[in-house]
């Protein structure tokens, strides 16, 4: 009995000392890497702001991965350098000249890194420029055999296909659950929800921020996802975690004209179409899938069987625009409100 007890004591002591070390302040504080602050704290008040922010964040991400890899290389942290540079190479539409510079560096870093590095350098695209290849042909992650499914959604009636949510679920077996994550704010600005439609993974916590000078409320009567964040003023954020899959209709109890959607995906493989209907879904393992496309103005979502393989053709889906907005918008107790009254 003595020996196990000694072992136990040793384990406890080791755990306690490691906890103490972890809790104690670092003697030498390393400079904080700027790139860890994603997403950028840029104000988003309009759709144009959103587009600007997305563009800025992409450039920021490229810089972060490029420079972060170099810093890691310089201090001999080759695995981190591989991680940064190869992540950069996996970004869509990486400028060709940048790829030409980074690819040999990433290869060199991988040669320096331990053999246990799990990821391999993405295959160099063929053709005149990398950018052209990425746009027109599905990408293949050679190490994980992950595929980027590109495609487009058509239809959506007069509103167009923008905002359509594309979800892939395994045709056979169980589709894994997405890991819950925090999502940037849906803001209320000029009596609108921005973004108007947002797809999130199951279990995601979404922040709702009031950027109007007037008070707002956010509620939903959608079964299984009903919630009410109460009344709150300018600058205040509230959070809601979405635990059931499907579309969630967002409304404001103060302003009957406000309407928006959060779509909760129970699959980790989902994305949204842009205004033209184009979408790109990255990191999908090869296999047979059922693609479901949900659109705000389609009465029923569209399902299509898809075989995801390297070099697959683009996925084309057409959705109807046959759903009409209900004649009356309910308040949070479900009572209809007349739009001509505005209250």
């Amino acid at each position: 009995m003595v020996r196990p007890m000694r072992r136990l004591c040793a384990v406890i002591l080791a755990a306690a000392s490691s906890l103490t070390l972890a809790a104690s302040p670092k003697q030498v504080k390393e400079p904080e890497w700027l790139g860890e602050q994603m997403p950028l704290p840029l104000a988003v008040k309009t759709p144009e702001d959103l587009a600007f922010k997305a563009s800025a964040e992409r450039q920021y991400l490229i810089f972060n991965l490029l420079a972060g890899g170099k810093v890691a290389w310089d201090r001999g942290d080759y695995p981190l350098a591989v991680t940064r540079w190869e992540a950069l190479l996996r970004l869509p539409n990486v400028p060709a000249e940048l790829e030409l510079q980074v690819r040999p560096l990433a290869k060199a870093a991988r040669e320096q890194a331990p053999m246990s590095m799990p990821m391999a350098l993405p295959a160099a695209p063929e053709g005149p420029t990398a950018a052209t290849a990425v746009v027109s042909v599905p990408e293949v992650d050679a190490s994980k055999q992950l595929v980027t499914v590109n495609g487009s959604v058509a239809g959506g009636g007069n509103n167009g296909p923008g905002g359509a949510v594309v979800i892939l679920r395994r045709a056979e077996g169980t589709t894994p659950k997405p890991r819950p994550m925090r999502i940037r704010a849906v803001i209320q600005k000029d009596k609108r929800f921005i973004p108007h439609v947002l797809a999130v993974p199951l279990g995601a916590t979404v922040e709702f921020r009031n950027d109007d000078e007037i008070f707002h409320n956010v509620f939903s009567l959608t079964p299984q996802n009903d919630f009410d964040l109460g009344l709150y003023k300018n600058g205040v954020s509230k959070e809601q975690t979405f635990l059931s899959p499907g579309p969630v209709h967002l409304l404001c109890n103060i302003h009957s004209s406000m309407s928006g959607y959060v779509f909760v995906s129970d699959s980790p493989w989902f994305t949204q179409a842009d205004a033209t209907g184009r979408f790109s879904l990255k990191g999908v393992p090869p296999g047979n899938y059922v693609a479901e496309v949900w659109h705000e103005w389609a009465a029923k979502s569209v399902k299509k069987t898809v075989r995801v393989i390297a070099g697959m053709e683009e996925l084309q889906v057409s959705v109807d625009g046959d759903r009409r907005a209900p004649a009356f918008v309910p308040d949070k107790s479900g009572k209809p409100r007349q739009p001509q009254l505005g209250y």
Partner: protein
């Protein structure tokens, strides 16, 4: 046994592991969302509407007039509005048995005590929202097909037609011009068949839910520290807030506008909504030629919604001054002979509970009960007290179909003999 236990563990573990399989969402896939341009969010022109089909059976002879009551005017000695059969407040019969009436009568579907199907209302709304202009134009037209020779004839009504300007995006301010809903009280908010929880209007709806031509101003401001808002709804119109059966021309004989308004307070807590209001009306009587004959009204209202329960109520005090000798123009039947003063004190309260059951096809199942009471007296005539107990349900399906049924227990408390004028009525409302 130990081997069996291991087998069980081995069998269960993969299943458990499969359930727990989780994959991180690729940051690049996590969408930033989609926001269409503001202009494309609203339809420029939209048509909506509803069709209200009903079934009703009134007891007695379908009216509130007692056969053995010989007083005249007959409509001053009984509540002719009591046996309502539909959302418009139309009654089964206004047959007074040949006795003189003085224009204080509702519309009648003329079914007497016959169980009958009714095509209550076909209603069309037109909403015009021009792009880039803070203007909203609204028109509501209604058809009331009537097939009984003893009731009112088929009618068409341009119930509302107005433009609403909302010039400030950061302020809740709206200016409306045209023919619009009353701003008095709260019953106008659910005056249509597809909006009202129950079927029939209250015993005081005849005074508060009319439509007039004029100018309306709405303003609401928030009280941040109190989770509250205060709203003002003021209107200057060509007539008061009585329904068209009482003021058919929707115009004032003296040409003097009537002022009406409501000050509202709302408390918007997370689980509880409370709305309180005080309404007032002041102006010349629409049915008199003397601008000195005034109509005045004051009302208080309350709405509370919490945990599926909904409580709503309203109390009204109304006074019409006596007009000069001569005719008045009250009611749909033309000039009436007695320009008497009139007073009413009345109110209603309704408690409803919506079951927490919704799915793809069931939008709601609500049970309700309402109590109405009206104390009315024409000066120089008998004071009349009546009340009504209404019980029923509303079933909402597919967000477009409402099926309602209710029973109205109408009672004469004082001033009139008891009459068998209860009503059982049902309604199917299709909203499109």
């Amino acid at each position: 046994m130990r081997q069996l236990a291991w087998v069980m563990v081995l069998l269960v573990t993969p299943a458990w592991a499969a359930e727990e399989e989780m994959v991180a969402v690729d940051e690049e896939n996590a969408p930033n969302g989609y926001t269409p341009s503001e202009a494309s969010l609203n339809e420029v022109l939209r048509f909506t509407g509803y069709l209200d089909v009903g079934f009703a059976k009134a007891f007695g002879n379908g009216s509130s007039f007692a056969a053995n009551d010989t007083r005249v005017p007959a409509d001053y000695g009984s509540d002719a509005f009591a046996p309502a059969v539909n959302s418009r407040g139309e009654v089964a019969s206004t047959d007074s048995g040949g006795r003189f009436t003085n224009g204080f009568l509702p519309r009648s579907v003329g079914i007497g005590n016959r169980p009958s199907f009714l095509l209550n209302t076909a209603s069309v709304d037109v909403r015009f929202t021009p792009k880039q202009v803070p203007l909203f134009v609204f028109v509501r037209a209604q058809a009331m097909p009537r097939f009984s020779p003893t009731g009112d004839a088929t009618r068409f009504d341009l119930q509302q037609a107005f433009g609403k300007l909302t010039p400030f995006s950061a302020h809740e301010f709206a200016l409306s011009l045209g023919k619009f809903d009353s701003v008095f009280g709260i019953e106008y908010l659910e005056n249509e068949a597809n909006l009202r929880t129950n079927i029939t209007p209250s015993l005081i709806a005849r005074y508060t839910t009319g439509h007039s031509l004029g100018l309306k101003v709405f303003y609401r401001f928030q009280l941040p520290a109190l989770w509250s808002a205060v709203s003002f709804n003021l209107a200057g119109t060509n007539s008061g807030t009585r329904i068209e059966a009482l003021v058919p021309a929707s115009a004032s004989l003296v040409g003097v506008p009537v002022g009406s308004g409501r000050i509202g307070y709302e408390l918007n807590l997370k689980s509880v909504q409370v709305k309180l209001g005080v309404s007032g009306l002041y102006g010349a009587r629409n049915d008199q030629t003397d601008p000195g004959a005034l109509q005045q009204a004051l009302a208080g209202d309350l709405r509370v919604q919490a945990f599926g329960f909904s409580l709503a109520g309203e109390v009204l005090r109304l006074n019409d001054a006596r007009g000069p000798n001569g005719v008045k123009r009250t009611g749909a039947e033309g000039p009436s002979e007695i320009p008497s003063g009139f007073n009413v004190l009345g109110g209603w309260g309704r408690l409803a509970y919506t079951l927490p059951l919704t799915n793809e096809w069931l939008s709601g199942l609500t049970f309700y009960g309402r109590y109405d009471r009206r104390h009315g007296w024409f000066e120089g005539f008998t004071t009349l007290v009546t009340d009504r107990i209404t019980a029923g349900f509303r079933l909402d399906l597919f967000e477009m179909l409402a099926i309602k049924a209710e029973y109205l227990f109408n009672r004469e408390i004082s001033g009139a003999p008891r009459v068998d004028n209860d009503v059982v009525t049902g309604s199917v409302v299709l909203t499109w």
